[in-house]
Amino acid sequence: MKQQWIDYRIQWKPTGHQSGAMRGLSAGIGDHLRALALLRDYPDPRRLDLRASLRDPFERLFVRDTYLNTALKLIVLVDATASMGYVGAVNRWQVAQEIAAQLALSAYRSGDAFGLYVANQALIREGTLPPRLNRSAWLWIQQHLHRVKPQGNRMDGLIKVTSQLPRKRSLVFLVSDFRWSESDTNMMFKKLNHHDVIPIVLEDPFEVSQAPKQGMAILQDAETGQSKFVWMRAGLIQSLQNKRLQHTQMLHQLSRRYGYKPFLVHGSFNPMALTHYFMERQT
């Protein structure tokens, strides 16, 4: 894996007393001025504010009180239903694994806690990392996550696992292909509402945009196992694209309702694109 960490940014201030890279809410050592206090109250001469002290007519000494640069909790939720095992132009599970590994690496570089939860109809223990500062998480992901085989067609485990997430607001990456029903998606977003959620939508070019334009085949639904005979032709591809477009629009609308913005991964994952996404994100 090419180590190329993601410079994620947030627009909110994380609580907590663990020092990290984000501008937090509690007092401590940081870059952002919180208040000026008397040296008498905060006897730390290293932070003496000469300018304020000289300006004071009563010749009191002031020290700077700053916000603590706070560590964040970064959680990656990975959908492990059977559709995540799809191999088209790229191996979808490998892409999910790479995203998780890159995020783990980036979290450690920023001094943030990293947690990983993999679930389909239930939480998968072999794919779980509790959220903590974890130096080797990315290596662990690379070596262990491929042992998890995506299967099943229900994502109840993902909804349930939201209750195990940290109570304080965290940065949550939801890695999935989002082939869920609208109500499930809505429920998932609702449960994660107090977190900063980034839905990472995995797509494969061979699914729709680069699907064969003609010919016949049988497609087997990875989740339900149902087979369908398809005669690929221009009209069918058009309606297929329309359907996918509708689904994407539905996803965007739902996300907007909760203040999220989906990040599309079309094919393989490019960490730079995710960095750009954070630069552009306004919410």
Partner: protein, 355 residues
């Protein structure tokens, strides 16, 4: 239309194989993340069932073709035009005598000096019969000539040249005895093993009675009935012969001894004419004593045989296997083409086109 039969009906047990395409899809299968929001596509469904039906039809036709279906041809009532005519030509010695009224100047005719007057009976018969043959292209001719023993010179066939050559080669020769009964029997044998497709006629051209013995009469009678043949007797009358209609015997032997006459009278209680009249088959006799009369007689014969004959024709079996093989080949070609349309790798079309 008769029922369908099969040469190998046991192969029909393989017919359930035609259901095989309904069980197995036989099309390459690919995994797809989710078909939940795959658009409703009636055309694909129809195509799929069409292909299954096609494959089932291929197996069905192959099995049916292997079982070799056929129908019995049955019989067809047909109308036969023309006639099958076996000419039984007497070539006994007396046939070389002159026709009545044309029998003088024989010596000069034999010397080649003049033939304006002399016309032998066989020559007249030959000329008229040849004309008759040429006038009736639809008929089938056979030829039997006889004097002491009958010779089948031309079998009953459509080979007209053969019959005409046989006719032309018939020369009279005296051997002292005329085997009329056996000649008729031989002529009747020509009809053996032939389907009854046209009216059958034995055209006996002779100039005299001959002896047919009692048991031979019965055999001949049975043969006539079995072959359903008509008999027409053109009695070419010369100067010396008596009319068949009123004589008991008109032998062609030049010298009739008293013993001969006695023998013939003893053996043959009725005249030939009476014998033939009792055959049970249509019989006509024409007594002809001139060339013109011969022509008239022939005309009467052709009128009699111009009547169309209704007969039952047994049609051959009709086999249908090749139709089913043809259908199977065409459908398999179609299936092959469809197979070419199958997606081999679920990849963008640019790949599948360039492969």
């Amino acid at each position: 239309m008769s029922h369908l039969h099969f040469l190998k009906p046991e192969l029909l047990w393989l017919l359930p194989l035609a259901l095989l395409p309904l069980l197995s899809h036989g099309v390459k299968q690919f995994s797809y993340p989710s078909l939940a929001d795959w658009p409703k596509d009636l055309a694909s469904l129809n195509v799929r069932w069409a292909i299954r039906l096609l494959a089932a039809l291929v197996i069905f036709s192959l099995v049916i073709a292997a079982a070799a279906p056929f129908t019995e041809g049955g019989t067809e009532s047909r109308v036969g035009l023309g006639a099958e005519i076996v000419v039984v030509l007497d070539r006994s010695g007396s046939m070389s005598e002159g026709l009545k009224g044309r029998d003088y100047n024989r010596q000069s005719a034999e010397a080649g000096e003049s033939d304006t007057h002399f016309l032998s009976k066989i020559e007249a018969a030959r000329a008229v019969l040849l004309k008759f043959m040429q006038q009736r292209p639809a008929d089938t001719f056979g030829m039997v000539v006889f004097n002491a023993s009958p010779i089948s010179v031309a079998p009953l066939s459509s080979d007209r040249a053969l019959a005409e050559a046989a006719l032309l080669s018939a020369q009279s020769q005296s051997t002292g005895f005329t085997a009329l009964g056996r000649a008729l029997a031989l002529a009747l044998d020509h009809f053996e093993d032939r389907p009854y497709t046209a009216s059958r006629l034995i055209l006996l051209v002779s100039d005299g009675d001959a002896v047919i013995e009692g048991e031979d009469q019965e055999v001949l009678k049975q043969a006539f009935i079995r072959q359903r043949a008509q008999l027409m007797w053109i009695y070419v009358r010369g100067e010396r012969e008596q009319s068949i209609l009123d004589t008991v015997i008109a032998g062609d032997n030049e010298i009739i001894t008293a013993q001969d006459t006695a023998y013939a009278t003893q053996q043959q209680t009725a005249s030939m004419h009476q014998v033939f009249s009792q055959l049970g088959m249509p019989y006509q006799a024409f007594e002809v004593d001139s060339e013109q009369g011969l022509n008239n007689a022939i005309q009467a014969v052709s009128n009699a045989t111009n009547k169309p004959t209704r007969y039952e024709y047994r049609l051959p079996r009709k086999h249908y296997a090749h139709y089913f093989y043809g259908i199977a080949i065409v459908l398999m070609g179609l299936l092959f083409w469809i197979k070419q349309q199958e997606i081999v790798v679920w990849q963008p079309s640019s790949f599948s086109k360039s492969r």
